[in-house]
């Protein structure tokens, strides 16, 4: 007892961080600062260049974006694209789930998945578009087909490698309590592999989004509506550069929103809460 230092003698046992320290601990704030710096750099370079046909200023892009949204033209294109994306993404996820489940339940299924992913994952989805056009014609189905292709293999690959890295102990625990087959996958493998699965979902989403925009650029109007990619391409043909920038801005904005609102929150209530990711 005599060697114990009285608590008053310590410099710090526990004290609240300063306002500034707490502020800087917020990653969203740090990222917002980065975005602001980029915006300022963009704005000043564009003003310096003073050639709106090459580089539009950020402020002019915003105005053009707002006009497009208000007039409904750009908004409609965004909605068309997102609807198509969700269809392709959803279908791709469902197929990836089936593929990985089959791969986990049998060795031949495992070999099948590994062979297919190594064959198709490196194949750019957009390269299938010409073939898809011949098979399915000029319509949504062709675009959904290539989007599904872009999502399926990335998600299946990540999920599968996540399943395979589930610890042997956890597998034995699951079987110990009588879990086999689909119940084992649902109650042990999927939650245990969740960090990899979320990564797969993010990669799949990014692949799907860029494939969709590219597909729309190559062949824009599907059943007379057209999406964001087509909006960009069409505007370029008419030298409506502000609209081109507004279209690109919309693509980036949606990417940021999905990442920071949807995936970040999925991670916060799952893998980070469970201590499986920091």
């Amino acid at each position: 007892m005599s060697d114990v230092v009285a608590s008053a003698d310590f410099g710090v046992v526990q004290r609240p961080l300063t306002f500034w320290q707490r502020l800087m601990a917020q990653s969203w704030l740090r990222k917002t600062v980065i975005l602001l710096v980029i915006v300022v750099a963009w704005e000043s370079y564009a003003r310096h260049l003073n050639n709106p046909l090459l580089v539009l200023t950020f402020s002019a892009t915003l105005v053009s974006f707002k006009d497009g949204m208000v007039s409904g033209d750009l908004l409609q294109k965004v909605i068309n694209s997102v609807v198509l994306l969700l269809k392709g993404y959803g279908l791709g996820l469902a197929l990836a789930m089936i593929f990985t489940a089959v791969a986990m339940l049998s060795r031949i299924g495992n070999d099948l998945l590994e062979t297919l992913t190594s064959a198709f994952n490196p194949l750019p989805a957009i390269a299938l578009l010409p073939l898809a056009l011949i098979w399915f014609g000029l319509g949504d189905i062709s675009i959904i087909f290539v989007v599904v292709h872009s999502v399926l293999w990335a998600v299946a690959l990540n999920t599968h490698s996540g399943f395979r890295s589930v610890s042997n102990t956890l597998r034995m625990v699951g079987r110990n309590y009588g879990l086999t087959g689909p119940r084992f996958i649902a109650k042990i493998l999927i939650p245990a592999a969740f960090p990899s699965i979320v990564t797969g979902l993010k990669i799949g989403w990014a692949f799907a989004w860029r494939t969709l925009i590219a597909a729309e650029l190559v062949f824009g109007v599907s059943s007379g509506k057209g999406g964001l990619g087509w909006y960009i391409y069409e505007s370029k043909s008419m030298l409506d550069i502000p609209a081109v920038f507004a279209g690109l801005f919309a693509v980036i904005l949606i990417g940021l929103i999905v990442e920071s609102l949807i995936f970040r929150n999925i991670e916060a209530i799952t893998v980070r809460r469970w201590g499986m990711q920091n």
Partner: protein
């Protein structure tokens, strides 16, 4: 304490040879091992690394089939993993990280179809209380210390009220102080419910403290070297003047010059 003279053993292992394949070899882990475990036994499998004690426990758990011999639980041959033999592992990741302490126990009860709903909740809380973790019932495992995680695993195993609890070096990854405390707590729990436990360890002091019966295994491949009773006090044998630990040590390392296993605890 001597082995109770019951007519039929709870777990009967007869002439069990276990082999497993690695990339390049077929390894014999144990050779014709036999022993009987009776109800409320604290049966310890003791031996150095490579004596196949963990492999033996896996086989009893139903995770691998013996190449020779038979294993029977209550007279029924062991064929696959089941909730009548619950494992407690050494690794801390045996808890499901996505479930709280209470959910981990409830998960075990519900997945195995033993109990549902309120009944499972009550049973879970009863056993969580037994290991003094009531305050942490709603914590996620990653917020707990190693010793607390092992207590959750023990609570989960005991809540299942299995025929036999299979403990595979459950305290080996803990620091010495915590390990000591956990050993005492395990004995207290046993005083409380008299569950049957099969305990694997390579630590002689732990075996002497935990077990009422100790099976000594020799390495490469594991064979039975002897069986001893223990009352936990490590008594001195009047004939030889040696303590139980010393006799175990002499038996296990009789044919070796060097002593490579340092006593733990």
């Amino acid at each position: 304490m001597n082995a109770p003279l019951k007519p039929s053993p709870l777990l009967q292992v007869q002439g069990v040879t276990l082999q497993y394949r690695t990339e390049k070899h077929l390894v014999t882990a144990t050779y014709r091992v036999s022993f009987d475990v009776y109800g409320a036994d604290r049966f310890v499998l003791l031996g150095p690394s490579g004596c196949g004690k963990s492999t033996l426990l896996k086989a009893i758990g139903g995770y691998m089939a013996p190449t020779e011999g038979s294993m029977r639980l209550k007279g029924e041959p062991i064929r696959s993993p089941g909730a009548d033999r619950i494992f407690v592992f050494q690794e801390f990741d045996q808890l499901l990280p996505w479930k709280t302490v209470k959910q981990n126990v409830v998960f075990a009860l519900e997945s195995s179809g033993k109990m549902r709903g309120r009944q499972a909740d009550d049973q879970a809380m009863r056993y969580i209380e037994k290991v003094n973790l009531t305050k942490f019932a709603n914590s996620y495992p990653h917020t707990l210390s190693g010793g607390m995680k092992q207590r959750v695993a023990i609570a989960r195993g005991l809540a299942m009220e299995p025929d036999v609890l299979l403990m595979d070096e459950p305290f080996a990854a803990l620091d010495a102080l915590t390990r000591r405390k956990m050993q005492e707590e395990l004995l207290q729990l046993w005083e409380d419910t008299h569950f049957t436990v099969l305990f694997v360890t390579h630590s002689i002091p732990e075996a002497v403290m935990i077990g009422n019966r100790i099976l000594l295994l020799s390495p490469h491949p594991g064979q039975v070297k002897g069986e001893l009773n223990s009352d936990g006090s490590d008594p001195t044998d009047p004939a030889s003047g040696k303590t139980l630990s010393e006799r175990i040590h002499a038996t296990l390392f009789a044919d070796r010059v060097e002593e490579e296993v340092a006593p733990h605890g």
